[in-house]
Subunit: 196 residues, 2 copies
DNA sequence: TGTAGCATGTAAGCCGTTACATGATTGA
DNA sequence: TCAATCATGTAACGGCTTACATGCTACA
């Protein structure tokens, strides 16, 4: 049973986790609903996979026996509802317990541009950072909405903790970038290196 | 010439940027050296591509005319040294100026596990977080080394800024996670939800 | 003599995206 | 009746990794 324990991608486990988190154990979700859950939480500190990827993963997980589908019908429209199996729950549990979590990977296009700040004028770099600050604010509001929606129920205390972690992170990032903008403004003149 | 301006991946631009940053404009790097530069800086806020990927990108960039290779020979060993072309510099510049930078993507396996913290016992989660704190400290030391190595030369002030950004981020993350560990310790009992 | 580092590549394959294709249901 | 949302998939392809393969050079 447990011999395929290393075969799943992290995204697979993430989706398995979303199914496990969804209230009572007998509840089931469509691929579409799962994608919505992912958009709501997963995307802030992992990725929200594309719809097509969600369906692909659900099929893979079904093949492993970690989820099972039941076809439901309303009118002439059928949809697959997926539910975590006991095997799936065990697999998820052993992943949570065993695996050495990788160090987080940050793909930060803004930092990447700042690295090469010497190639463009300061104003332009400041604009990039300013735009990033705006985006950070948007994101913060979105995540604050998620946090509020999670409420204070004990069943959701871990998701709530993660959401707060994200909010703390955004706050810190906002501070850092604000300081960077100030610092850019008081930088010594760029000595004309911007030319090719 | 400029009609392929949207064709490069961010990693390509990152490598182009490393070539541009490498001291005097006439300097050139081997793929191997470029990979070392990437390991030193890029990996903290982007990714350090695999060797094979570095060579692939260099070939692609050569095809676009953004870098050019010269074969150098020492003993009976030959190696390709790559240098940014004027076109490459222009391409990089227009990317720095034009492109709307994407919002950063964070792939955070530790946060992902904490999300499902309710499925395992608190001790286990605390151990994950503690291990993450240790890794953060290692990373901080590595990045502090990079920051020191960059020095205070004006030519490297932007890379230095980015390194400091990273250090601030690690410091903030360390604080947040430390608080989380404390909070886990004082959490109400897990009410036995860990069973299947 | 042998190992670590320098240096370059090819092949296979996974993960994930975008684009495309289809059709039902709800509500304005 | 039209648009938005629900719902499900396939095809093509890009980016990146691991594993494999090769050979030189410096040094202990």
């Amino acid at each position: 049973m447990g011999d395929v324990s290393q075969g799943l991608s992290t995204t697979s486990y993430a989706l398995l986790g979303l199914l496990a988190l969804d209230g009572d154990p007998s509840s089931s979700l469509t691929g579409y609903e799962l994608k919505q859950r992912a958009d709501r939480t997963l995307r802030f500190y992992w990725v929200s996979p594309a719809m097509s990827q969600v369906y692909t993963e659900l099929e893979r997980l079904t093949g492993h026996g970690f989820v099972e589908a039941t076809e439901e019908r309303s009118g002439r429209r059928t949809s697959q509802h997926y539910r975590l199996t006991a095997d799936g729950r065990a697999e998820l549990h052993s992943w949570l317990v065993d695996a050495d979590a990788d160090f987080p990977v940050l793909k930060h296009p803004v930092a990447l541009r700042l690295l090469m700040g010497g190639l463009v004028d300061r104003e332009r770099m400041a604009q990039h950072l300013q735009r990033y600050l705006d985006q950070l604010q948007e994101r913060t509001q979105e995540l604050a909405g998620v946090r509020a929606w999670l409420g204070d129920a004990e069943a959701l205390q871990y998701p709530a903790m993660v959401a707060e972690w994200g909010l703390d992170y955004y706050a810190s990032e906002t501070e850092i970038v604000t300081r960077l903008v100030d610092r850019l403004a008081t930088l010594p003149p760029p000595d004309g290196s911007a030319a090719g």
